[in-house]
Every structure is written in C-alpha cells, then in structure tokens.
C-alpha cells in the first residue's frame, strides 16, 4: 500500500494519479485505432473529453444537490479540490448523457463507437485495481496462501493484483486489430463487458470488503451476473442480426 508519493515536499495521491494516467493512455490507444471502426479519431477524442468533463462537473453538482445546506453554508466548497465532495454515480450518469448527446449530434453509430471506446475502457479497468492496491481499498479476504499480502492486520488475498492481471489479460485478448473483421459491430464491446463482468463476479468472491445483501450474497456479484447475462444476450442478438443481414444480402 502506497497511498501517497512525497515529491518535492508535496504529497501526491497515487490512486487518482494512476486513474489519470490510465485515461490518458487508454484515450491515446482508442484514438489510434478508432478509424478501424469508422470513427474519426478527433471525434472520438472530443467524445471522451466531453464525457470526462461532464463526469467531473456532474459529479460535483450531483453531490452538492444531495447536501445543499453544506454548500449554502460554504459556497466556495463547490470548487474545492476535495475528491470526497463527489458523487461518482451521478457524475457517470451525467457523463453518459453528455456523451450520448454529442454522439447523436455527430451521428455516431452506437455499436462501432462502443467498439472504438473499448481499448480506453479496458486500460481503465486494468488501472482501477492498481489504484485500489495503492490506496489499500477493495482488499481481499483473509488467506493463508503463500502469496497472501499483509494488509489491515491480516494476511489477505492480493485480490487487487488478481483483478489487474485478469483485466490485463482481457485487454490483451481484445487488443485493437485482434478482432475478426467478420464479427458484427459491437461484438468487441460486448465481449469486453462479458469478460469483465465474469472477472468481477469471480474475484468479488475473494474480496474482504464486499457489500452483502440477503442470504449473505454479495451485491457486486449479483450485479455482475445480470450484466454478464445481458452482454451474452447482446452477443446472441448481434449474431442473429448479422446472419439475417447476410441471408438477405445473398437473396
């Protein structure tokens, strides 16, 4: 665990730094390969930038809307650098809406755009467990395995490392250019979603910080199972649609 880097007398949080670097690398990779999906790289760059900006502003405004009295008492806090004054779910929703509006204005087709964004998302999902490892969050369950790490008073599964390795493997599997050209648009994205949902579902079972629901079931696993099922159904839908299109064309 190394939550802070002490550089030139300033303490720099490692976790957000890792995420920022991943966004930059992922966006660069996605831009380089977006032409293969028929999306101009500049358009993809703008899409990512607008979504990120909306995520940041939306996350802060959504948080302020939930605690209006705190911000009325101290309005300057609206522009505070504190990451704690942020609602990631609200920010993500606003970011998605902003991206959808931009995509509609630019008449971007949904599935090719999602395929083009897949490398960026894959890099980001590789970095998130590393950020968690740095901050000591999303830690593993107690374990006596030889590779267990000492964290928060016990030997634990290095679950953040498992998750990073799995996400790295998925990134390698779906690396731009590896997909077969006859696969219908959207296949790469849905494979990415299905693989990550399966990975999350599996490794969540080794976490020591899960939110539990009824019958001791882990909430994240249930959500991941639903996402996995939806992604598999989406893949089936795309297969059928592409086969029907092929048949129509050959007639």
């Amino acid at each position: 665990m190394f939550p802070y880097l002490n550089l030139f007398g300033a303490a720099i949080a490692v976790s957000p730094l890792v995420i920022l670097v991943a966004i930059w690398l992922g966006a660069a990779l996605a831009e380089r390969t977006s032409d293969r999906h028929g999306i101009p790289s500049e358009t993809l760059y703008n899409l990512i930038f607008i979504a990120l900006l909306a995520f940041i502003l939306g996350g802060r405004l959504s948080y302020a809307a939930q605690y209006p009295s705190a911000f009325i008492a101290d309005p300057v806090s609206l522009v505070s650098r504190n990451l704690g004054l942020f609602d990631p779910v609200g920010g993500a929703a606003i970011g998605l809406v902003a991206a959808a509006i931009y995509g509609q204005r630019k008449q971007l087709a949904l599935w090719p755009t999602l395929d083009a964004l897949t490398p960026a998302l894959a890099v980001l999902l590789t970095a998130i467990p590393l950020a968690n490892l740095a901050s000591g969050e999303a830690f593993g369950a107690p374990s006596s395995l030889p590779w267990a790490i000492e964290l928060w008073g016990q030997s634990r599964h290095p679950v953040q490392i498992y998750e990073a390795l799995a996400a790295g493997l998925i990134l390698w599997w779906l690396w731009p250019g590896r997909a077969k050209s006859q696969d219908p648009a959207g296949t790469n994205f849905l494979l990415f979603v299905a693989a990550n949902a399966f990975s999350r579902l599996f490794f969540e079972g080794l976490r020591g910080s899960s939110a539990l629901t009824v019958l001791n079931l882990r909430a994240a696993q249930l959500a991941a199972w639903v996402i996995l099922a939806a992604a598999l159904y989406g893949l089936l839908y795309l297969r059928r649609k592409s086969k029907t299109a092929l048949r129509t064309r050959s007639i």
Partner: protein
C-alpha cells in the same frame, strides 16, 4: 465469435451463467466477505485503533473512552500548510456539532514538529478542541500516516467510516461527513 454455431454459443453462455451462479452461492459461505469491525486497522470498515495521548494543556485522552461520540482524528503539524488551512473550518464545525456528540482529536505529529510551534499556532487561532501531542510518533505509525494532514472519521460505535489523506478539507466536506457520522451512516 462467429466461428461458433448458435447451438454451441447458447451452450457456452448457459454454462458460463450456471458456473457463475454456483460461484455466487459458494462465495456467500466464504468467511471474511466484509470488513471485520472487530479488527483494529486504520481503514474504513475497521475498528479505530485505540491510543492514549497527553493534550497540550496536560490532560490525558484515550480514544476508546469517547465511545458513543462521533470523532474526527486529524493528524497535523504546524509547518504543514494544508493542515493550517483546514483547522479554522474544523473549529467552525466543532462549534456547531460538539453539542450533538461530535468531537475532534487534533493529533499533532510532534515527532515531526516542535511542541512550541504547535502551541503558538493553536493559541494564535484559539482552537478549543483537544490538541493531542504525539511526541514519539506512535499514533502516526499506528494509523499508518504517510501524508499530512490525515483525517479519520469515526462512528459512535468506534468504527472508522472514512479516511481522508491530504488536505485542506473544505468546510462542506467536514459538514457532510460529520452529519453522516452523527446519523450513524455506514
């Protein structure tokens, strides 16, 4: 994907979903699925490690004796600019919420500071919350403090609700966190 027939794809998808469902059921029985609040560790979800320190005015405070109160443990030093910046906001929050069962333990990292500089700073601003002197750095080590300021928001049951490394914390952040502590939210 298109190399599989639809039947093969459906079988594969069904097997993946079935195996996943079985793993979810097995995971529910695995121990340690959620942070054990009984274990002391300086992390959200764990019991706040206990300590006893002398205050600037010579009295002694033990964290566990504050059980039942919402507590902010803030580790600081007088030379640390963000620490100095956030302290007036902490005082404002302390003034507002102390009567509702909230207290602040401002732990001066005296092993990295000077007791007289700390006292001068406290007297200059007239802070009224307890200032604890971590002379040998034991509490900084116990709480694995790697940056100043470091703040630990502790629920009335003694469990750490949130850790904030670095600062300065905005007044709105302090206010929302303290209100959550007092409501006993996890």
């Amino acid at each position: 994907m298109n190399s599989l027939t639809e039947k093969q794809f459906l079988r594969l998808a069904g097997a993946v979903l079935l195996i996943s469902a079985v793993w979810i059921a097995i995971s529910a029985g695995l121990p340690g699925g959620t942070a054990n609040p009984g274990i002391p560790a300086p992390q959200a979800g764990f019991q706040a490690p206990d300590f006893t320190l002398n205050t600037l005015d010579g009295s002694t405070i033990t964290l566990s004796e504050l059980h039942g109160q919402a507590v902010l443990v803030n580790v600081w030093a007088s030379w640390c600019i963000p620490c100095r910046t956030e302290m007036p906001a902490m005082q404002a929050i302390y003034d507002q919420y102390a009567s509702q069962g909230f207290t602040i333990l401002a732990v001066n990292a005296t092993s990295q500071d000077s007791a007289s500089d700390a006292a001068d700073f406290v007297n200059e601003y007239g802070f009224t919350f307890p200032i604890l002197m971590d002379v040998d750095g034991a509490v900084s080590r116990l709480y694995q403090v790697s940056a100043l300021p470091s703040s630990f928001f502790i629920l009335p049951n003694g469990q750490i609700e949130e850790v904030v490394f670095g600062g300065p914390m905005a007044e709105a952040l302090l206010r929302t966190r303290v209100e959550r502590l007092l409501q006993g939210e996890e």
